[in-house]
């Protein structure tokens, strides 16, 4: 299996300047590797830093120490030192991320929001919109909602719009933050299918899954963030 992402000696701490400059260490010395075709579950109790680590892999959070190298357009790039231009290009072409929050401009129709990542990659609007329709149908978002802004949707519906948007482009690396939280059994099954399809086309996936069933169904391995907690090995 070819390696797609490699985090070396990664540490993270937050310094809260507005609260007496207290420094909160999260973890240190994290070594993590992700290869094509595998799906690794990030595990650890609540507060252990799973989401923080995932955000660092997406360069949404900075790294206090260490490197995170991503295989992008045939080259290894360290996202902890890459320029904003490079990071945006990595996110556009290589690194997909399904977050738990939908952040969109009000008023933009759901269909356009889902199609957008493909359009950004240069796919013509019609093809992108067709694929968006397919995904929304599979995820059981009723067609009458497609022309509305998802900001008016329920939590579960918003989550599915997020998933459709995250899966529309065939990113080589995908980060999934609780993709099945707040979904019913049918929709959870669809998300599992989407993850399986991504795996079989060779995507390298890291995910946070709140339930064992999902994890056991799609993951090829797990990675416990807790073992890197600062002070864990003292």
């Amino acid at each position: 299996m070819s390696e797609m992402l490699h985090a070396k000696n990664v540490a993270k701490s937050f310094t809260l300047h507005t609260q007496g400059s207290v420094t909160i260490p999260v973890f240190e010395g994290v070594e993590f590797m992700l290869s094509a075709g595998e799906c690794i579950a990030l595990t650890g109790e609540s507060g252990s830093g799973k989401s923080t680590f995932m955000r660092m892999l997406y360069a949404n959070y900075t790294c206090s120490q260490g490197s995170i190298k991503v295989f992008h357009n045939g080259d290894w790039l360290d996202i902890t030192t890459a320029s904003p231009h490079s990071i945006l290009d990595i996110r556009k072409r290589t690194l997909g991320y399904v977050s738990q929050f939908l952040r969109v401009i009000p008023r933009v129709p759901t269909l356009d929001i889902v199609a957008e990542p493909l359009v950004a990659l240069g796919t013509d609007r019609e093809t992108a919109t067709d694929k968006a329709r397919d995904l929304l149908t599979r995820l059981r978002i009723p067609e009458r909602l497609w022309q509305l802004s998802p900001l008016t949707f329920s939590g579960g519906e918003q989550q599915r719009v997020n998933i459709a948007r995250g899966f529309i482009a065939d990113y080589p690396i995908m980060l999934l933050d609780e993709p099945t939280a707040s979904l019913d059994a049918q929709n959870r099954a669809t998300v599992l299918e989407l993850i399986e399809e991504a795996k079989s086309r060779g995507a390298a996936i890291a995910g946070i899954f709140h339930d064992h069933e999902t994890r056991d169904a799609v993951c090829t391995g797990s990675f416990d963030v807790t073992s890197f907690k600062v002070g864990a090995n003292d």
């Binding site: 937050f14 310094t15 809260l16 300047h17 507005t18 400059s21 955000r55 360069a59 949404n60 959070y61 900075t62 904003p84 231009h85 490079s86 990071i87 945006l88 290009d89 952040r103 969109v104 401009i105 009000p106 008023r107 933009v108």
Partner: protein, 260 residues
């Protein structure tokens, strides 16, 4: 936005002093086509001073502003002849003011407001000007039948969209915006954001947008510069700056956003 793109604008070590008082200090950055740079910070932090100095409206005390012109390649905007600079500001650059009244001529029709910028670059064909003005009204979602109306009869949101149409009709490559959504109510603001984002993408515009609204900055800009007391204290990827701010002042700014 590809990495091989040359910068369109290069600002180096820009400093503007008002006597002993700092307007902005030691600001450097580059901007590429298709890229949106947000500048945030509280009132008096130097955002507008910086914008004026970059956009050739106020010569800085120190530092350079270089622009990739269509004909002569990269040029220092304060070394150009007055005529060259004026042409640049009328064609390749656009300036969207917070108050549409500062960017529009209120005593001529909407169509004439758009047509005027076209005539300034040599367009003389009345039919062309009128049809182009009409098509731009459509792009900013103003009905054709308002073409001959005075902007003073428009709502604030419509005036702002008209100002954008007037600015973009000459196909500029660099647009400066000073609090473009400032005086608008939220529903109008959303519509304008959607419009701006579409135009940036379709026309591959480079934009420098000054705003105190972090939500606007998040939705529109790729990169964010945070200013305090005239200095850039944090500069990086927008979501990184907002979600994992490093500087004390940025943390204060982000933590002061009201949640809903």
């Amino acid at each position: 936005m590809t990495q091989i793109n040359e910068p369109l604008l290069r600002v180096d070590d820009l400093t503007m002093m008002y006597g002993d008082r700092i307007g902005c200090k030691d600001v450097s950055f580059e901007l590429r086509p298709g890229e949106v740079l947000g500048i945030v910070g509280e009132s008096g932090s130097g955002k507008s001073t910086l914008l004026r100095s970059i956009s050739a409206q106020q010569e800085p005390t120190k530092g350079t502003v270089e622009y990739q012109t269509r004909i002569d390649g990269i040029c220092d905007v304060y070394q150009m002849s007055e005529a060259q600079r004026r042409l640049l500001m009328r064609t390749d650059w656009a300036f969207v003011h917070q108050n549409p009244r500062d960017g529009l001529r209120m005593n001529v029709s909407a169509g004439a407001n758009i047509g005027e910028r076209m005539m300034a670059i040599g367009d003389r064909h009345y039919g062309n000007i009128r049809s182009n003005a009409d098509s731009w009204l459509g792009k900013v979602e103003i009905a054709s039948e308002r073409l001959d109306d005075l902007p003073s009869t428009f709502s604030g949101g419509m005036q702002q969209r008209l100002q954008i149409a007037r600015n973009l009709v000459t196909s500029p490559r660099l647009v400066f915006m000073d609090e473009p959504t400032g005086g608008l109510d939220v529903s109008v603001q959303a519509r304008l954001l959607d419009l701006l984002r579409g135009l940036v993408h379709d026309l591959n515009l480079a934009v420098i947008i000054v705003t105190h609204d972090l939500a606007v900055a998040r939705l529109l800009s790729h990169r964010l510069m945070v200013m305090q007391q005239g200095k850039v204290i944090e500069h990086g990827l927008t979501d990184q700056v907002l979600d994992d701010p490093q500087h004390a002042y940025t943390q204060l700014l982000v933590s002061s956003i009201l949640q809903n």
